[in-house]
């Protein structure tokens, strides 16, 4: 059961979203997000791909409410992650590129962090943290500190921290790219198994096209600066067509031109 609940559905609506930065030295405006309009339905698993520096991470930061947009809005269940910041407590789980475990806390205490913040009973915090660490194969390392563990183990603990709160929406920002391929594949598999088992909405931001095609139901291709060049449902493509699709997406990203035949941005009414 989730901790609290948003008032309406947890569909995500992105409307006319723009983000500009001012360069500290010259004061010149830099466009990070040109314009984004799309919607994500509850339970969808969506991957966002694009060139390095195309604004994926900026979008991610706006989505989790750490930054405000310059224009437009993101709405989740009628609320905005930045404006209604506290209302999303316990509703969004995040896995960052690095594990970001608190070095002074044991694995168990790192996993209880989110549960402490939502105010769960201490006995329940511990039970839930132990359950998730066990599910991720870390039951022998509850009292270990992060610096005693490998990168893969730490990232699994970060997964446990995110899932333990039982959020409706799970976000992953280049979460597996820094691990070796075998470990990344294994942890990515665990992540998507858990997302599907728990029926969560998941958004995976990645620069690895293979990872996106292998794991997501839907693919958003971002141009640079961020705008949707293509929006496609991967289950509409047969495995035989995937090599051709991969090449076409790469060309779309390279040319930085929309490819409507791949798929137009999908919006759903609220």
């Amino acid at each position: 059961m989730s901790v609290g609940a948003l008032d309406a559905s947890t569909d995500i609506h992105v409307r006319g979203l723009r983000k500009l930065y001012r360069q500290k030295g010259s004061g010149a405006a830099v466009v990070a997000i040109a314009r984004l309009d799309f919607s994500i339905r509850r339970g969808e698993i969506v991957a966002i791909v694009g060139k390095t520096g195309c604004g994926k991470s900026t979008f991610f930061n706006i989505l989790i409410g750490l930054e405000p947009p310059s224009d437009g809005r993101i709405e989740i269940g009628g609320l905005t992650p930045y404006g209604d910041f506290d209302r999303f407590r316990g509703h969004i789980g995040i896995i960052f590129q690095q594990d970001r475990l608190l070095p002074w806390r044991t694995l168990l205490d790192n996993v209880t962090l989110g549960l402490e913040i939502v105010g769960l009973d201490p006995a329940e915090q511990r039970a839930r943290a132990e359950r998730w660490l066990s599910r991720l194969g870390l039951d022998g390392f509850l009292r270990a500190f992060p610096n005693e563990l490998s990168g893969g183990m730490r990232q699994r603990a970060a997964l446990a921290r995110a899932f333990a709160v039982n959020p409706e929406i799970m976000l992953a920002d280049e979460a597996f790219g820094h691990l070796d391929e075998v470990t990344a594949r294994q942890i990515r598999g665990q992540f998507f198994d858990m997302v599907r088992d728990e029926g969560k909405t998941a958004i995976l931001v990645t620069h690895q096209l293979e990872e996106a095609i292998d794991t997501a139901d839907r693919l958003l291709v971002f141009g640079k600066p961020a705008t949707v060049l293509a929006d496609l449902r991967l289950n509409a493509w047969s495995p035989a067509d995937l090599p051709g699709l991969r090449a076409r997406i790469q060309t779309t990203i390279q040319n930085n031109e929309p490819d409507p035949e791949l798929g137009r941005p999908q919006e759903i009414s609220r």
Binding site: G65, D86, G90, F96, L102, P103, E148, S150, M153, Q186
Partner: protein, 262 residues
């Protein structure tokens, strides 16, 4: 690779944090060498320049009959450091929380730090009637600004990655401070304690030179007035030993609190 094998291989990578304690061999060797050289120097130099260890030992035995002087000085330092730390934490937290406080208070902190200790001693004599108040004032005005600067730096030094991670969990301001900022500042706090311990031992003896009727500084002044160089050396040895003992305590606390770093 099966999951079990992968897990096993990762477990092998897990670092063994067991660390055996050992004698500080190099420290002992260098201290013994210094003592030997000092003894040799005492054989060729007059006693008022380099008294022998026998003379210094006699003075140390005499000091051992007056432990209250040591207790008084240690007590003054301990109380003043605790007060300085509390002031330092409160001011640093206020400056961390409100930029306006930092903009107005930081120039004053820098001003306090620029004033030489000797000037504070003179001010204390001019401003305060009671000896203990004078000594406490001098210690606090010297140590508290250092706690403020170090603690504030420590709070600001908590990594942006960790800040963003915790913020994304949507803590209250209090949770953010107690669960992230304060534990992340512990290394800086301990470093500041080490710096201030050393500083306060040196400052308290200077403060006790003026107007005190007890404590190590007073004893040093008496030894100086009676030209008892061996006593001066003996008290110096006591001061160094006090400082070393204090550092051992802080290091022990550090090991307990920062076990995750080893």
């Amino acid at each position: 690779m099966t999951e079990a094998v992968a897990r096993q291989s990762e477990a092998v990578e897990a670092v063994d944090v067991a660390h055996a304690g050992r004698w500080p061999k190099e420290t002992i060797v260098s201290l013994v060498a210094f003592c030997v050289l000092w003894q040799l120097a005492s054989m060729v130099l007059p006693p008022f320049v380099a008294p022998s260890w026998a003379r210094i030992g006699k003075s140390l035995a005499d000091i051992a009959t007056r432990p209250e002087f040591i207790a008084v000085t240690v007590g003054r330092v301990a109380i003043a450091l605790v007060i300085s730390f509390v002031i330092g934490m409160v001011v640093a937290m206020a400056m961390y929380r409100w930029d306006l406080v930092e903009r107005y208070v930081m120039p004053l902190i820098k001003l306090l730090m620029a004033v030489p200790v000797l000037c504070w001693i003179l001010f204390a004599v001019l401003w305060f009637k009671f000896r203990e108040v004078r000594i406490a004032f001098i210690l606090i005005v010297v140590c508290a600004p250092i706690f403020v600067i170090d603690v504030l730096d420590g709070m600001r030094g908590v990594s942006k990655d960790l800040r963003d991670m915790v913020r994304a969990l949507r803590p209250t301001a209090g949770q953010f401070f107690w669960k992230l900022v304060l534990p992340g500042t512990v290394p800086a706090i301990l470093t500041s304690w080490k710096v201030n311990l050393s500083l306060s031992i040196r400052v308290v003896t200077m403060a006790e030179l003026v107007g005190a009727t007890s404590g190590i500084g007073y004893a040093l002044m008496q030894a100086n007035e009676t030209f008892s160089v061996a006593d001066v050396f003996a008290w110096t040895v006591v001061l160094v030993l006090i400082l070393m003992a204090a550092q051992v305590v802080v290091t022990w606390v550090e090991r307990r609190l920062l076990v995750w770093r080893e």
